[in-house]
């Protein structure tokens, strides 16, 4: 092994990796006797697709499954923000200002000096943050996969030039560059912030896909496709990209986590999503002036960010073990 990349996950507690015998209802075509005889010989021939295998591997990873459930609840909260939030995110009720977290009037996270309900604001903030992060993941995956595919497929001087450019982007102090661009462009609507982030977070995937393609290029099925006259585009999209799905999915998951952290940082500094649109980072910034007297206003959105990112990272690790056992984690 020459790859010293840090891996946060490889030795997490997980269920023992014993292959269970196939349950009878999963193999209806084989009768019971036949099944036992297979077992006695130690043969187990049950056809499973790649995705079934991956799903089995993922569900063995308890922490990842638990995180996925928590994450799905949070996503649902974001999607149904209007139905869940007892108040609107901008409604000010001066009489209810400065309340501590209480069940009364459903101010679960308290209210700020203007009398805005922080539970509702957090719920809407979750929606904004997840939306931004989702768009970032989608866009950067698109850019990264295409860029890496072209670079790895064609190789040679094209590859050389393209990878030099990736090196260049990677040497930039990315957070600083993002802050500068977001600040100067101003007017941060969620989609705008997402596009800016995506323009800088495609490089990791581009490198991974490029490396993957360099090795896939030599595979027999690619040669066969070429020999039978398939076009470059067909080979890339029909044959090679589907075989790189594992790293693509894993990377996209981890990008979501990064994007949430970076978007929160930008919004906290006032250069990200602009008010009145609620973003988790901005909520913390708004509450900063009162954090000694009303620390819960900082804690609620802050802990929400931590929980979301934690869950995504666990799910990402589970996915990596399931889809892409050879790849190790590289953090941006």
């Amino acid at each position: 092994m020459t790859n010293p990349n840090p891996s946060a996950s490889e030795h997490l507690p997980r269920a023992p990796q014993v292959d269970r015998p196939p349950s009878p209802d999963a193999t209806p075509s084989i009768d019971a006797d036949e099944l036992t005889s297979f077992h006695e010989e130690g043969l187990e021939v049950v056809a499973r697709s790649q995705w079934q295998l991956a799903r089995r591997r993922f569900f063995r990873h308890k922490l990842a499954v638990g995180s996925l459930i928590v994450l799905m609840i949070i996503v649902l909260v974001g999607v149904f923000a209007e139905q869940i939030a007892p108040y609107s995110y901008r409604e000010q009720v001066p009489l209810d200002a400065r309340m501590a977290p209480t069940l009364e009037g459903q101010h679960y996270f308290g209210t700020d000096v203007l009398g805005r309900d922080y539970f509702s604001r957090t719920v809407f903030g979750i929606r904004t943050s997840l939306y931004v992060a989702g768009v970032v993941a989608l866009l950067s995956t698109l850019i990264g996969a295409l860029y890496g595919a072209v670079s790895g497929y064609f190789g040679g001087w094209i590859d050389n030039m393209m990878m030099r450019f990736v090196d260049l982007v990677l040497t930039l102090p990315i957070l600083a560059v993002l802050i500068v661009i977001a600040a100067l462009l101003g007017n941060g609507t969620p989609i705008r912030v997402a596009v800016i982030l995506a323009l800088f977070y495609w490089t990791t995937l581009a490198r991974i896909i490029r490396g993957n393609f360099l090795s896939l290029r030599e595979k027999e099925y690619v040669e066969a496709a070429k020999a039978s006259g398939a076009s470059d585009i067909r080979i890339i999209f029909r044959h090679m990209l589907p075989n790189s799905m594992g790293p693509i999915v894993v990377n996209a998951t981890l990008i979501v986590a990064t994007a949430i952290l970076v978007e929160a940082t930008l919004s906290f500094l006032g250069f990200g999503v602009q008010p009145p649109e609620p973003a988790l980072g901005k909520l913390i910034d708004d509450a900063r002036g009162f954090m000694q007297s009303m620390p819960w206003l900082v804690m609620a959105p802050g802990v929400t960010i931590v929980v979301i990112v934690l869950c995504i990272n666990f799910v990402g690790d589970g996915l990596r073990d399931a889809l892409d056992p050879t790849q190790r984690r590289l953090r941006a």
Binding site: N5, L172, L175, V180, L184, T265, F271, G281, Q292, N313
Partner: protein
């Protein structure tokens, strides 16, 4: 080796040229630097004309770029937009403060990460290992600014309730302090811890993974079989080789630390690079901002270079030709 260093230095030149071009281009297309100035009533038309004159704003893009590069070399990036302060002296001052912060954070995270990583690897799957794993996951998931605020809340409350000042929660020094060094340490502690946490989380996983690889290698088994003491096996045989990739990771981390410093300095009120950048971004003063980006990029590229050279020196298997 010398040839490699020279070649690598030469390669940095086009990288710097392209970087400077990209920075100038990105900042220029992001908006007219004069919009904010025009909104300030006390700024006269004469002043605006002077700004246009000084920064060649009516010239074509490439000429502007060329003039900017020239001013970087001859004039230390010129002055702020309004022309009221030269850029270089300010940056020199804040860079000094930021480097104190960053280097202290890097040293702290390297030492702690090395210890945590080695112990985790040697006692794999122990309670210590699991605790360290949990904390590093938390470290990855906590935004820097949130951690900074938590520490601020905690230590301010501690001070208010016990009246004992352990760490200061803002600024770099207090007026009339008896001992400059201790005072500086009390001010730097919280920002340094904030910056170091992500590094510790990242590096300890790194050291752990590469230690595990080395611990299972043939030469370590041989050393054990020969009856070398466990302590010596870990310290002399395993650790030395495990740390080689770590050196590169440390050098490459400096770019990230400059990013982290932006948030940390803003929250802890430190007169450093980060606060300088945010301050000028708030007034949309693009010239100090471009100077900031350029100087930071030079530093990051320099550290990349150092990383490559050290790597080649430490690991004789790597041959550059």
């Amino acid at each position: 080796m010398l040839i490699f260093v020279v070649r690598r230095l030469l390669y940095s030149i086009p990288v710097l040229i392209i970087t400077s071009f990209l920075i100038f281009w990105a900042v220029t297309v992001s908006g007219d630097p004069l919009t904010t100035v025009r909104q300030i009533p006390r700024v006269s038309q004469d002043t605006i004309n002077a700004i246009i004159e000084r920064n060649h704003l009516l010239e074509p893009f490439l000429v502007q770029y060329w003039e900017w590069v020239k001013s970087a070399f001859t004039d230390g990036f010129g002055t702020t937009l309004l022309g009221d302060a030269p850029i270089m002296p300010d940056i020199r001052r804040v860079l000094g403060n930021t480097l104190q912060l960053i280097i202290a954070a890097e040293i702290l995270s390297v030492i702690l990460a090395a210890i945590i990583g080695v112990v985790s690897a040697v006692r794999q799957y122990s309670a210590f290992d699991y605790t360290a794993t949990t904390f590093s996951f938390l470290g990855f998931a906590t935004p820097t600014f949130f951690l900074a605020l938590l520490l601020q809340i905690l230590f301010t409350n501690l001070y208010l309730s016990t009246d004992v000042r352990i760490f200061f929660t803002s600024g770099l020094s207090s007026a009339g302090a008896d001992n400059f060094f201790i005072d500086r340490l009390q001010h730097l502690a919280l920002p340094v811890i904030t910056l170091a946490v992500l590094g510790i989380a990242q590096f300890s996983r790194y050291v752990r993974a590469s230690m595990l690889e080395v611990v299972n290698s043939d030469y370590v088994r041989t050393a054990k079989a020969k009856g070398v003491k466990k302590r010596n096996v870990v310290m002399k045989h395993a650790l030395r080789n495990a740390l080689i990739p770590f050196v590169t990771a440390i050098a490459l981390d400096f770019g990230g630390l400059f990013g982290g410093a932006i948030v940390t300095e803003t929250i802890f009120g430190i007169d450093g690079m980060g606060r300088y950048l945010v301050g000028h971004l708030n007034t949309r003063d693009v010239y100090p901002v471009m100077a900031w980006l350029m100087i930071t990029s030079v530093i990051v590229i320099l550290f990349n270079l150092i990383a490559d050279v050290i790597y080649g020196y430490l690991d004789p298997r790597i041959r550059y030709d």
